[in-house]
């Protein structure tokens, strides 16, 4: 009993001590994309075509991409790592522009996203998500996380987020956030695309790292317009029996 008490006390002190710095640092995520699972959701494909695709490619359909989130308690910046990670064979492929800035203090979002053959600059106030907090816990990258779920109605995706309440920043990977703690794992449609934190590193973050560069080049739109573009494209593509996911960040 004594030992338990001591260990709890120790735990509390450690947590308390650590908390002082747990609001700034960087998180390296790995985004694993299972394309046969994603494409299996295309309504125009027949069951036979879906089965054939899964049988042929299902065992080897993973594509991985490292992502980086830099944050402090007021702001965050999410994009590709600064040093390019080359593909397995060492070849370099252009990565479609994907930069996401969040300003929690002033409730602002700025995203630079390439989609539909253009680069868009999406500026708006912070979006809120209708998160539902569930009774499930698990560990991600050494942090105990709680589960929360929501839905992306535009893309028709079921979103499951695992957030660490002892990293008290309402950020996260991709374009998600707004939970009581940092999202360390984000699961789209039960495993289609899973973005998981591999490493959480707390360090002092300079202002320049999080500052929005002045020369962000892109067509300026707001969040509503972004969603409209997205949903029109998905609708048109499905109608034309074309895969909409080739040209949008899914």
């Amino acid at each position: 009993m004594k030992a338990v008490l001591i260990s709890i006390l120790l735990l509390v002190t450690v947590v308390f001590y650590a908390d002082a710095q747990k609001t700034e640092g960087e998180i390296t995520y790995e985004r694993v994309f299972h394309w046969t699972r994603v494409y299996s959701r295309l309504s125009y494909m027949s069951q036979e075509e879906k089965d054939r695709m899964k049988l042929t490619w299902g065992n080897d359909d993973e594509s991985k991409q490292e992502m980086l989130l830099i944050f402090n308690d007021k702001q965050s910046y999410y994009s590709y790592p600064k040093v390019e990670t080359l593909s397995e064979g060492g070849y370099s492929w252009t990565k479609e522009e994907f930069k996401s800035y969040r300003d929690y203090e002033n409730g602002k979002m700025t995203d630079l996203i390439a989609m539909l053959g253009k680069t868009y600059l999406i500026e708006d106030s912070l979006q809120t998500f209708n998160w539902k907090v569930m009774n499930k816990i698990k560990e991600v990258a050494g942090y105990m996380c709680m589960m929360a779920v929501t839905e992306d109605t535009v893309k028709g995706q079921k979103i499951t987020a695992w957030f660490a309440d002892n990293i008290p920043v309402s950020g996260g990977p991709q374009l998600f956030g707004g939970l009581p703690g940092m999202i360390l794992e984000l699961d789209v449609n039960d495993g289609d695309i899973v973005t998981t934190a591999k490493e959480v590193k707390f360090r002092p973050v300079t202002e320049e790292e999080l500052a929005i560069p002045k020369k962000l080049k892109g067509r300026k739109i707001n969040h509503a317009k972004y969603q409209e573009l997205m949903s029109t494209h998905i609708r048109d593509s499905i109608k034309a029996h074309r895969n909409p996911f080739w040209s949008i960040p899914y």
Partner: protein, 920 residues
């Protein structure tokens, strides 16, 4: 209180979070959720004293939740009390059982669900050997004990009940389920304190709780099987049938495929191929030859089965049977695949061909009527094994074989004419041959990744065999009208035995340096031994006698070495690579009249060359892609071309080898650009290519002007070249409803050949233009139309009066319509026009295929289809071929009009759509 709540206003919720001993928990996360769907409405944290305060809350019922590392999340339902502040007092959080945390979360890396007192385990995270029962699984779970008799205890208490998906499983004995159900069937295990049976029956909660285990079964969606069968009967005795069956789970795939027809379908359709081979359909990394393309040694063989990538049936009349089985196993670390496939084809080819041959200042023509009845059968066993020893080492072992046997009956009547139909010679040929062959390709591949990212090593070793035996009876009667002294009757027996063994090896090492650079060094080795033993006998009434002119034994050793190095720069989508390799060939041939000969003639050739390679691949932003490559390809002369042997098996067309041949090489450059705009669906592509031949092997034709006997002999010639350009543009006329595609190409060819030792240059310009229109106005009607026009102009440096202009046009339409009651209609029309001014040729070929089909049976599992093939009976099997110094037109009697009624049964349901499949 309810009344008060309705009076409105906001309220503040506060309280203190402590552990069970009463010590405060600072920085604990407190959350407010809506009871109906657990939506998060507000959250906050406790301060240093463990106190929280959530202000300005709407008056409503909430779920209040507290989370703190190392503790079981705390939850309670709160109702706002009278007044502005509702104080929840002290909330005591329980320590999360260390065992639970360590075992479930840390070790099994599984999510743990806590619902009140229910603990849920994700069974997939707890590994048990295959074939284990639930009992074995439960033993692995923290806090669970199963004794020798199968009695279960959870957290020290006896488990009274085990339910499956919340229901009782064959009576009340908890062991019933745990001893009988396989562990693999379980998705989740939930442990909770359930109400007693007594209270459930009476509906009165007696407050007693029993330990209950609930087993949640897996959705067995990963397991499955499907099959398909097609049978058809037609007019003109046409029949076709096909059966396929697949069974799979997440590790294994098993497939059967069989088909038979007399409708000229000899290949495996792409979809059937993919269903058959499953995850082994395409293995890109199975090439054991490393290094860049320039100067590469190719040894392609069709040992494995290949999908038919399109194109219609074969020409002539063929009867086909094929069938096989495939099994794949894949658990990510070990991949095993084996298959066996047999196919046979009996083909009847009735060919009438006419050829116009151009001589230096003259020309002559020849006509041939021939009939071939051929049978060929292939057995193809294949094996592939891949093992990821660990994350850095992989080995792949591949062994594919083909065992082939067949025969050919060949009857032919050939005549040559000169000047206004004067027959110069004629020949009646009757040949029969029987053959068998065995081919095998084995490859062992090892890949090693170093800890340093990008540093790689690979080694491969392969051994290929290709042996063949052929016995041929040749008989011909040759009459020369101007020179009867040359008349001959040939009766020969030709027995040929050939063997080939090819040992290959390759090494590659890639070293990354300076972050964006990769340096690859590679070595390729190949040693090929060919042996041909040909015994030819002249057969007469007196018996058979060795023909010393044609009987031959030869062996040929071909050694190939290539060492090369290249440097690649890769950054931000740009990949730039340049390299150089040294290639060395060595040919050692020896030949004599017989294997046992004491004296062999020998040919020894050695050749060394440097081959460069430069390539650019640039993946630009917004779906644009740019590429270019320059390379030098080197190819050794074939053995038959090298042997100074005269082959007169066709007395009018004699071939002769040339031991002085050196390898031919081609400088080639190509470049291209693609782009696609997904927003407006516009796509564009352009490409350029240029090839220049050095020491190209061409056949010098010597035609005896008297008797028109042609002798060909291969020689090396430099200077031939070709260049061309192509492009395409596609855009929607109306988004999602109408799309237009345009394409065009220009090609220029310069070919050099020798006729009677005079150089003849053929210059061919060709221009092609095409357009495609896709109309997809609705899900009930579609139209796909295309039109292509081609114009080619060939000019000869000698015999300029043979210059010719050819015009080609193709118009196609594919119409699909959906009628009521699941009835569908399809029409495919193809209209080909072929014009050649020189030969006064003007041909029009309209081919129309119609089909109507109806989906029948429950769940749309059946389809009845009526097809009319080649309605106008115009498939005449005509092909034209213009070469350096001859023009040939062939007509093959080919399967033409027939009607067929077929029935399809598909376990997964028949998908009928008027839309073309875009794939993905």
């Amino acid at each position: 209180m309810v009344v008060h709540a309705q009076t409105g206003g906001r309220f503040t919720l506060k309280g203190v979070v402590t552990d069970t001993s009463g010590a405060v928990l600072p920085e604990a996360t407190v959350m407010l959720l809506l009871p109906k769907d657990s939506s998060l409405v507000n959250f906050g944290r406790t301060n240093k004293e463990g106190v929280f305060e959530l202000k300005n809350l709407k008056r409503a019922q909430y779920i209040f939740k507290v989370s703190y590392v190392g503790f079981v999340p705390y939850q309670e339902t709160v109702n706002p009390k009278d007044g502005d502040v509702t104080d929840l007092g002290r909330m005591k959080m329980k320590v999360l059982q260390k065992e639970l945390y360590e075992v479930v979360i840390k070790t099994a890396r599984a999510p743990l669900s806590i619902r009140g007192d229910t603990v849920e385990f994700d069974a997939r995270a707890f590994k048990v050997p295959p074939g284990s029962t639930v009992e074995d699984l439960l033993r692995k779970l923290p806090g669970m004990q199963v004794d020798a008799d199968g009695n279960i205890k959870a957290q020290g208490e006896e488990v009274k009940r085990v339910t499956v998906d919340g229901k009782r499983f064959f009576g009340d004995d908890p062991k019933m389920a745990t001893k009988n159900l396989p562990a693999e069937a379980i998705n989740k295990v939930q442990v909770f304190n359930g109400k007693t049976e007594q209270s459930k029956v009476t509906g009165v909660d007696d407050g007693k709780r029993e330990k209950t285990v609930n087993l949640e079964l897996k959705d067995s969606h990963k397991k499955g099987g499907f099959g398909k069968a097609i049978a058809g009967v037609g007019t003109d005795k046409r029949l076709e049938g096909k059966v396929s069956y697949n069974r799979f789970d997440d590790k294994q795939q098993f497939a059967l495929l069989g088909f038979g027809n007399n409708t000229n379908q000899s290949g495996i359709a792409r979809n059937d191929y993919q269903d058959f081979k499953g995850s082994q359909s395409f293995n890109w990394g199975d090439d054991g030859d490393f290094g860049f393309n320039s100067g590469r040694y190719y040894g392609g063989d069709d040992i494995t089965i290949q999908p038919n990538w399109g194109g219609g049936g074969s020409e002539g009349f063929t009867k086909n049977f094929a069938g096989g089985a495939n099994y794949n196993y894949d658990n990510k670390k070990t991949k095993l695949s084996t298959s066996y496939f047999y196919n046979q084809t009996k083909a009847i080819m009735d060919v009438r061909s006419s050829t116009e041959n151009f001589l230096t200042n003259d020309s002559y023509s020849s006509l041939a009527n021939s009939k071939t009845i051929g049978f060929t059968g292939n057995h193809r066993p294949s094996f592939r094994f891949e093992k990821n020893i660990d994350s850095l080492n992989t080995i792949i072992l591949i062994s594919n074989s083909r065992i082939n046997a067949g025969d050919d009956h060949f009857d032919s009547y050939q005549r040559s004419f000169r000047n206004e139909g004067v027959v110069t010679n004629q020949s009646t040929v009757k040949n029969f041959s029987e053959y068998s062959s065995f081919a095998m390709a084995n490859l062992l591949l090892y890949r090693h990744k170093f800890k340093k990212k990008g540093r790689n090593f690979a080694a491969s070793i392969g051994y290929n065999i290709n042996n063949a035996d052929e016995n041929k009876d040749l008989s011909s009667n040759n009459v020369f009208f101007q020179d009867s002294a040359r008349n001959s009757i040939i009766n020969q027996l030709n027995e040929t035995e050939s063997t080939r063994g090819n040992l290959k090896g390759s090494l590659s090492y890639i070293e990354p340096f300076a972050k964006k650079f990769f340096w690859e060094t590679f070595y390729n080795y190949s040693m090929r031994k060919d042996k041909v033993d040909r015994d030819v006998f002249d057969v007469s009434d007196a018996g058979r006698e060795v023909n010393p002119l044609l009987t031959r034994f030869y062996s040929n050793d071909f050694t190939y070495n290539r060492v090369g190095t290249s440097v690649r720069y890769s950054n931000k989508g740009l990949n730039l690579s340049a390299g150089l390799a040294g290639v060395q060939f060595e040919l050692r041939g020896k030949f004599a009249a017989d294997k046992a000969a004491s004296d062999f003639m020998r040919v020894t050739k050695s050749y060394f060359t440097l081959v460069p390679n430069v390539s650019v691949n640039y993946d630009l932003k917004n779906n644009r892609y740019l590429y270019a490559e320059y390379g030098l390809n080197v190819r050794e002369p074939s053995i038959t071309d090298l042997q100074p042997i005269v082959d007169n098996s066709n007395p009018l067309f004699i071939t002769e080898g040339n031991p002085d041949l050196i390898p031919s090489s081609t400088h080639s450059v190509y470049a291209g650009y693609n782009m696609f705009n997904p927003a407006n669906f516009i796509n564009l592509y352009i490409g350029l290519s240029y090839n220049y031949n050095v020491n190209q092997i061409v056949y010098n034709r010597t035609v005896n002007v008297e008797n028109l006997i042609t002798t060909t002999r291969p020689i090396n010639v430099s200077g031939g070249y070709s260049y061309g350009s192509y492009g395409g543009f596609g855009f929607p006329l109306k988004k999602t409803k109408a799309t237009m595609n345009l394409n065009a190409s220009i090609n220029y060819n310069n070919n050099i050949t020798y006729i009677n030792d005079v150089e003849n240059e053929t210059n061919t310009n060709s221009y092609n233009f095409g357009t495609r229109l896709d109309l997809t106005p609705s899900d009930a009607f579609t139209f796909y139309g295309n039109a292509n026009w081609g114009f080619s102009n060939s000019e000869y440096s000698i015999n300029t009066n043979q210059n010719q202009k050819i015009f080609n046009a193709t118009y196609g339409a594919d119409v699909n319509a959906k009628g009521p009651k699941d009835i569908y209609f399809n029409a495919k029309f193809n209209y080909r026009i072929y014009k050649n001014d020189q030969f006064g040729f003007d041909q029009k070929l309209p081919i129309l295929n119609l089909s109507v089909y109806k989906i029948v049976l429950k769940s749309k599992k059946g389809e009845i289809r009526l097809t009319a093939n080649d309605v106008f009976k115009k498939n005449l099997g005509i092909t034209q071929n213009v070469n350096q110094n001859y023009y040939t037109e062939r007509r093959v009697a080919t399967l033409s009009r027939y009607f067929m009624l077929s029935f399809t049964y598909n376990m997964r349901g028949v998908t009928a759509s008027v839309r073309r499949s875009n794939n993905y």
